[in-house]
């Protein structure tokens, strides 16, 4: 009986009404790595905006069957399936046998919504980032309004005083010699005030600017490859430390070597956003021929022309394969090849590095001064600090930027507030006094400051 109830309950859940929000989750988890989010452009897989229309001639179940296991349907000789296969082979659509009908319907709802722009929540989601800005603007506006009001009041009061003086003078039978605007502006008091204000303002700005010198919060330079953390960390939920594998064991978090990229990109060779444009740069860096799916022997000594030939063919083939209604290289394709090759060359070479092969020279975003020692493993492995604490929501950054000011005040503040993982690590047993104090209730917690985290030679040596 209980079993039946549970079963019914489960059914109840699975039979929930399809919603576009549920569809978004499914899409993000399963589809987005191959299908474009805007539903209108082709990626590894085709654009999905017209999927329902294309399958309209067939029973709905056959669409479900296609999504759950496309290869089976192709093998069975389903006409639409075969048509699609001919267009996209040898790329195989991953099978999703566990998707329920409802989940598929939800996804369809979401796809429809995204395609015609009626899916609402996304607007809100997109707006969550920049929301801070208008808030700040409105604050400023308030100040401006207040300032204006006060200025107006001052002006009115001046006029009033002026008028009153005039009246008083008239009453006393004198001719009132009111100061002209020029006279009051050049008066001793005014000039003194202006100079004083300028000095204060100048000093304030100088000190502030000087403090900020060398700080680059919000720095988001253009990188040689338009690598998107949003796609990798956000959409595909790749662990930060999969690529930045130094963070747990070294002072450097480490920019991943190109061979780390190749772990995935030997299989994923057509990007969801930029197609061949960016991923080809990885191949050109490590010397991988995507046409043959093999590493090139003696790549260091390969002439530039041969490298160009390899990537021109690759870009051209992919252009033809991924563009609707194009069967051979047209003018647009030629242009694409040219521009993408140019971009490969400009991204991978510079004054000091002539060869295309070799390391990708990323632009360093987080620059600590040379006299600062910072160790990632101390913070990540011992302190168990989330990456996001210092680096912000990297998984939402299409272009990586410096989140924190990386100023000493910022570091110090965190060291003041952060509690040490004191009882978990036997190392801290040498701080016996603190353990006693905590046991007796005298001390609530031990912060980094308490174990010397604010001292100069914790970071400067």
């Amino acid at each position: 009986m209980l079993f039946v109830l549970v079963y019914l309950g489960a059914l109840g859940i699975s039979h929930a009404e399809p919603t576009a929000d549920a569809g978004k989750t499914v899409f993000k988890n399963y589809c987005a790595s191959c299908h474009a989010k805007n539903m209108k452009s082709a990626m590894t897989g085709p654009a999905l905006a017209n999927a329902e229309a294309n399958w309209a001639d067939y029973p709905r179940e056959e669409l479900y069957a296609w999504i759950r296991n496309s290869q089976a349907l192709i093998a069975a000789g389903h006409p639409r399936a075969v048509e699609l296969w001919n267009e996209y082979k040898p790329t195989v659509m991953t099978a999703f046998p566990n998707l329920t009908d409802e989940e598929i319907e939800s996804t369809m709802l979401y796809i429809r919504g995204m395609a015609d722009g009626t899916y609402g929540p996304s607007v809100v989601a997109n707006g969550s980032g920049p929301q801070a800005q208008p808030k700040e603007a409105s604050n400023n506006f308030l100040y401006y309004a207040l300032f204006g009001l006060l200025a107006l009041l001052a002006l009115i009061l001046t006029r009033v005083i002026n008028s009153l003086s005039k009246i008083r003078a008239a009453k006393a039978g004198e001719v009132y010699q009111g100061k002209t605007m020029w006279e009051s502006l050049t008066s001793r008091g005014m000039i003194t005030f202006v100079i004083f204000a300028l000095i204060v303002l100048g000093g304030y700005t100088t000190v502030n600017k000087a403090t900020d010198l060398g700080r680059q919060q919000g720095y988001a330079p253009e990188q040689p490859i338009k690598f998107s953390h949003e796609t990798h960390a956000g959409l595909h939920k790749i662990e930060c430390q999969y690529c930045h594998d130094g963070a747990r064991r070294s002072k450097h978090a480490v920019i991943p070597a190109a061979n780390t990229c190749m772990n995935c990109h030997s299989a994923i060779s057509y990007g969801s956003e930029y197609g061949t444009a960016e991923i080809s740069k990885i191949y050109a860096s490590v010397g991988y021929d995507p046409n043959t799916k093999k590493y090139i022997d003696d790549y260091e000594n390969m002439p530039k022309d041969s490298i160009q030939a390899i990537f021109s063919k690759w870009i051209g083939d992919q252009y033809i394969a991924n563009t609707d209604g194009v069967d051979e290289l047209d003018k647009v394709g030629e242009k694409l090849i040219k521009s993408e090759w140019k971009s490969i060359v400009s991204s991978l070479t510079n004054d000091q590095k002539e060869s295309i092969g070799g390391p990708i020279e990323w632009v360093r975003i987080h620059n600590l001064p040379d006299h600062v020692y910072f160790n990632h493993s101390q913070h990540v492995t011992i302190g168990e600090v989330e990456c996001q604490t210092c680096h912000g929501k990297v998984e939402e950054m299409a272009i990586a930027e410096q989140h924190a000011p990386l100023s000493m005040g910022w570091c110090i503040n965190c060291h003041r507030e952060t509690e040490v993982k004191f009882s978990d690590n036997e190392y801290y047993q040498s701080y016996a006094k603190y353990h006693e104090e905590m046991a007796s209730g005298v001390r609530e917690k031990v912060t980094v400051q308490d174990i010397g985290g604010l001292e100069c030679q914790k970071c400067h040596y």
């Binding site: 680059q216 450097h252 480490v254 061979n259 040498s430 603190y434």
Partner: protein
């Protein structure tokens, strides 16, 4: 300071200039000399306005500029074993002209930056100063960067193909091919040489050593039938008699000699102290002599007589050779003690005379030293050369029969006494091939240069002792277009095999066969490579078969009859100049004379009976004289040296290099040409010598002897009172008039405590009393601050150090290790002469005891990390302050350079960056050149900068720096413990100096860890704190120096 301890004759004499100079922390006003160097820096009003205008504009432009774009460049394919930011260590072997040491090489991102000792294969895991410095020669800017072929007076850059063809062609048609080399200590390299010799009809290896051991080798061949040197096993020795052998310095440096020596001289139990007794017979004060209990002074030419005298006493025969009375008396005592020590005695001699060496063998045999203190079955193989082979080579060349000479990583044109003769005939040799690393005296004579790898880029092996095998592996891929010498040999022998393969083959067969721990050759190779070698212990038996003492006594060298003799000696760091182009070694002071950048003529100081010391001919430190040896004349500066035999002067080998780069070219003089030969063997003394009177003053006299001294007392001119010379202050207030004067207080400062092992109990009581007085003084403070309380550092760590002055031999390895670890710049001769050396760790040398023949104590002196530090509370910007772990922290980016802290440091350990020594600035006027002929500063090029430790800030001009207790290592050790989730042990953190020490003289650790290594050292009743009475609460503890001097000889 105690009245019987002194620094040098200026201190002993109470030299008024010296005493007066002590109250000045900074001896040379740098501004004036900058102006003198850069006249363009002088200016007038118009220049000032121009500069002002430019400055304002530049500042405006600079403020508007963007921050420069920095790149982050990852690997393309990351090697598995490299984690950027984490050091990787490889076991390897330091080999330099036969001398070898097992080492660990610390690499960061594939680049060697530091040499550490190999604790698996050595007793204490230390190294020598030369091994420490060797990493810098990898980044020598003068090394060959590509193969070269001579073209007239210049060089053409050649390809390896063209070089190989030239050499192969030359060899193919050659009559005689001669291979000139220093001792090849590598069994595999010998195979490579053999491969070449098999290809050539008339091939001969000519082996010689920079400093000759030929006489000793011949003696052992005669007595043991084995041309090898004994392995010293000094840990078994109770009585050591050394005739001029500087075994703690450069003489036969191999294995754990100093560790073994110190093992017999450690006082562990005060109530029952036992120490070996060490007699050193010598004419000049060597490093080993300075560590000896009794030094027996003889003239250099009397050495043979002294050996014969001891032999006669042991054998019970009489010796008729002339010898001074004091020496005879002392040798009588030595003979008695040797006889009673029996197999626990040992006699060592450095003489290059076969008969004298055979007499020493006979003595050792008579007392039973072989098998106990000396080991001939695991003999030392690091020296196998014979300079007479070079003499023979000259004869061969003269007969026009030598077509090809290959110089293998040696420099005979500098370090062979007959270099001039060789040079005059070399033109007759058709092809001269140099397997050389960098430009030197020999490279100029070569037709072809096949540049070799640095040892850190090479594969290799070594057999320093029979049965001990060491491995060398590359720790960086080759930086330039060079090739390992052995690979060149194999190539010219038309072999397809690489040297690595040859070596691996011989290891997996020969060496694998010599051990029994591993069953598969693969795992044996892996393990040996990991450990850096292995010891099989097996040797070849050698029985003594000599012994005609009477017959040998007639063959010893006869004492000279001249009034003046000269002794040529090796210093611990320079040997015979093999690594003279290494700036770290050049700047390291000679431990005994404390001179750097050049060799200085050591002249004896004579005691005139009224506490005034006068040098020979009235010469004083820094006077220039003409020295005539035979018909060669040298202009050299003088250093007054205690403990010299009267009528003897001394001069070091290894200086005066030419054609070898700015570091060493024409720094000092080359004395190799003046070395006389007897029976074809180079002698390191001469009695055909003359010293002129004072001819001038050395311009840049670089002796650090009187720099940064502390605790010196003097007599106040006005009051006649004894005062602390380094503490001038405005203290006397008489009727409202403030006067310059000296503070009162204690003048008997705790700087050095010393005693004789026989007086140990009394001395311990005395020390206890003195420390009691100091503690009493310190308790009576006016300032009952909280921080004086003992529990201030009870939470977490409290770092401290213990320096055992009984274990310290003064070798200086720690000072070089400190420079390497902490990016300490080399400042050059001119700057050293102005007291501007930047060393964080110095080794102060103090004499004590008998003025004419004193004993020596070395005191490593670094920041004491005082818990009540006087430097901290005078800093106006709080750039130096105290950490909760008891560290005296120096924050460079906060320092504004007032130098108050250095003024207030009682130990004089703070260093100021007067100039831009690290070339971080942009104004060349601030960057002093290193040598005298060059304006190139030390860190001016990117190659040298590769040696920098990336974890330590490179300091700029205008800031103070000092010992940090290697805080980067402390932090690393803490992190390791945290990562492994365990308590920190003292072994997790070793400062660079402690890690480099061969004798474990320095122990670093957490004073709060009551079970740690440091805590064990801190209980000794011999411990004291330097300047304890000034209440600075130092974290460094020293021990009283104990000697085992035979006091019966003092009377």
């Amino acid at each position: 300071m105690q009245s019987n301890v002194w620094i040098g004759q200026k201190d002993l004499n109470q030299d008024p200039d010296f005493i007066e100079s002590l109250d000045k922390e900074f001896q040379d006003d740098v501004q004036s000399s900058v102006l003198e160097k850069a006249p363009e820096m002088e200016g007038n009003r118009r220049d000032f306005l121009k500069m002002l205008g430019f400055g304002v504009t530049a500042a405006t432009v600079a403020a508007g500029c963007d921050i420069p774009v920095k790149r982050a460049i990852p690997y393309v394919i990351k090697p598995e074993q490299i984690i950027p930011g984490v050091a990787t260590y490889y076991a390897s072997t330091f080999i330099e002209s036969g001398d070898c040491e097992p080492i660990l090489v610390k690499t960061r991102e594939g680049r060697p930056i530091k040499i550490e000792g190999n604790a698996t294969l050595t007793k204490n895991g230390g190294t020598s100063a030369r091994a420490q410095a060797s990493v810098l020669s990898l980044y020598n800017i003068n090394r060959f960067k590509e193969p070269r072929i001579k073209n007239g007076d210049g060089w053409d850059v050649g390809s390896w193909e063209s070089i190989d063809k030239t050499v192969s062609d030359a060899i193919a048609g050659a009559g005689k091919v001669r291979f000139v080399t220093n001792t090849i200590v590598s069994p595999s390299a010998k195979k490579a040489v053999n491969a070449l010799s098999e290809k050539v009809g008339n091939f001969k290896v000519v082996t010689y050593d920079p400093v000759s051991y030929a006489g000793m080798l011949e003696a052992n061949l005669a007595d043991f039938g084995k041309r090898a040197l004994p392995k010293l096993q000094l840990e078994n020795a109770d009585v050591i008699v050394s005739f001029d052998a500087d075994f703690l310095g450069s003489w036969l440096p191999s294995g754990d000699v100093s560790a073994d020596y110190i093992a017999g001289r450690t006082v562990s139990n005060v109530n029952n102290a036992k120490m070996s007794r060490h007699f050193q017979v010598e004419s000049h004060m060597s490093l080993t002599g300075s560590n000896a209990d009794n030094r027996i002074l003889v003239k250099p030419s009397e050495m043979g007589a002294a050996i014969a005298y001891l032999a006669s006493k042991i054998a019970g025969v009489s010796s008729s050779l002339k010898l001074n009375v004091n020496a005879k008396k002392a040798l009588d005592a030595a003979a008695n003690q040797l006889r009673s020590a029996g197999s626990k005695g040992v006699v060592i001699g450095a003489t290059n005379n076969v008969a004298e060496q055979r007499l020493i063998n006979a003595i050792n045999n008579a007392i039973g030293a072989y098998g106990s203190t000396l080991n001939m079955s695991n003999a030392n193989l690091t020296k196998q050369g014979d300079e007479s082979e070079l003499d023979a080579l000259i004869t061969e060349i003269k007969s026009n029969s030598v077509d090809v000479i290959i110089f293998n990583q040696c420099n005979p044109m500098y370090d062979y006494a007959g270099a001039a003769d060789l040079a005059s005939v070399l033109g007759k040799v058709k092809t001269k091939v140099g397997l050389l690393y960098a430009n030197n005296e020999t490279s100029g004579f070569c037709d072809v240069i096949a540049p070799t790898h640095h040892f850190l880029e090479s594969w290799g092996d070594a057999e320093p002792f029979e049965g001990t095998y060491l491995l060398q592996q590359p720790t960086i891929s080759k930086i330039f277009n060079t090739r390992q010498a052995e690979d060149s040999l194999l190539k010219w022998a038309s072999s397809d095999q690489s040297f690595k393969d040859l070596m691996k083959m011989s290891w997996t067969s020969d060496m694998f066969g010599a051990q029994s721990d591993f069953l598969s050759s693969g795992s044996f190779w892996e393990s040996a490579l990991h450990d850096g070698g292995f010891t099989s212990g097996s040797g070849s038996a050698a029985a003594f078969a000599g012994g005609n003492i009477g017959g040998l006594m007639s063959q010893v060298s006869k004492p000279g009859s001249t009034d003046l003799e000269i002794k040529f000696f090796e210093t611990a760091h320079m040997s015979n100049g093999q690594a003279a182009d290494n700036p770290w070694l050049m700047e390291m002071p000679d431990p005994v004379a404390r001179t750097s950048w050049g060799n200085y003529l050591a002249v004896p100081v004579n005691f005139d009976g009224v506490r005034t010391m006068a040098g020979l001919n009235g010469l004083k430190d820094g006077d220039l004289v003409d020295l005539t040896v035979g018909d060669i004349k040298y202009r050299v500066p003088v250093i007054q040296q205690f403990g010299m035999m009267p009528g003897t002067v001394g001069l070091a080998l290894g200086y005066g290099r030419t054609n070898s780069g700015a570091t060493c070219d024409n720094v000092g003089v080359n004395v190799n040409a003046a070395l006389p030969k007897v029976d074809g063997r180079t002698q390191y003394y001469s009695n055909n010598v003359g010293v002129s009177g004072k001819l001038g003053k050395e311009e840049h006299f670089s002796c650090v002897q009187y720099h940064h001294t502390y605790g010196v007392t003097g007599t106040d001119k006005k009051t006649g009172e004894t005062i602390n010379a380094d503490e001038a202050a405005t203290v006397f207030v008489t009727y409202g008039v403030v006067q310059q004067g000296y503070q009162g207080g204690i003048t008997d400062r705790s700087v050095i405590y010393n005693t004789n092992v026989a007086d140990l109990k009394d001395s311990v009581a005395h020390l206890k009393e003195k420390r009691g007085v100091a503690e009493h003084l310190n308790e009576n403070t006016l300032y009952p601050y909280e921080e004086y309380m003992d529990d201030k550092y009870e939470v977490g760590h409290h770092w401290g150090m213990h320096v055992d002055l009984n274990s310290c031999t003064g070798c200086g390895a720690c000072t070089v290790a400190c420079m390497a670890e902490n990016n300490v710049p080399v400042v050059g001769k001119r700057e050293v002469s102005r007291h501007h050396e930047m060393t964080w760790l110095r080794i102060d040398r103090y004499y004590y005891g008998n003025v004419e023949n004193p004993n020596v104590v070395y005191q490593p002196m670094m920041c004491q990390h005082c818990d009540n530090a006087p430097c901290e509370n005078v800093c106006p910007v709080n750039a130096t302050n105290h950490s909760s772990e008891g560290l005296n922290q120096m924050t460079y980016n906060r320092c504004v350079g007032t130098r108050y802290c250095a003024n207030n440091c009682p130990y004089k350990v703070r260093r100021f960056n007067w100039m831009d020594y690290n070339t971080a600035d942009i104004f060349p006027a601030n960057q002093p050149g290193m040598g005298l002929d060059t304006d190139v500063p030390f860190y001016a090029d990117d190659l040298t900068r590769m040696v920098l430790n990336p974890d330590v800030t490179v300091r700029v001009r205008g800031v103070i720096e000092k010992c940090s207790f290697c805080v980067q290592r402390i932090q690393e050790g803490k992190l390791t413990a945290k990562t492994e989730g365990r308590r920190l042990e003292d072994s997790d953190v070793k400062t660079a100096c402690a890690a480099a020490c061969n004798t474990n003289a320095i122990t670093f650790g957490d004073m709060n860890n009551k079970k740690g290594d440091l805590a064990k050292k801190l209980v000794s009743p011999l411990n004291y704190i330097a300047l304890e009475e000034v209440n600075v609460r130092s974290s460094v503890t020293y021990t009283m120096k104990v000697n085992n001097r035979d006091k019966s000889l003092d009377a």
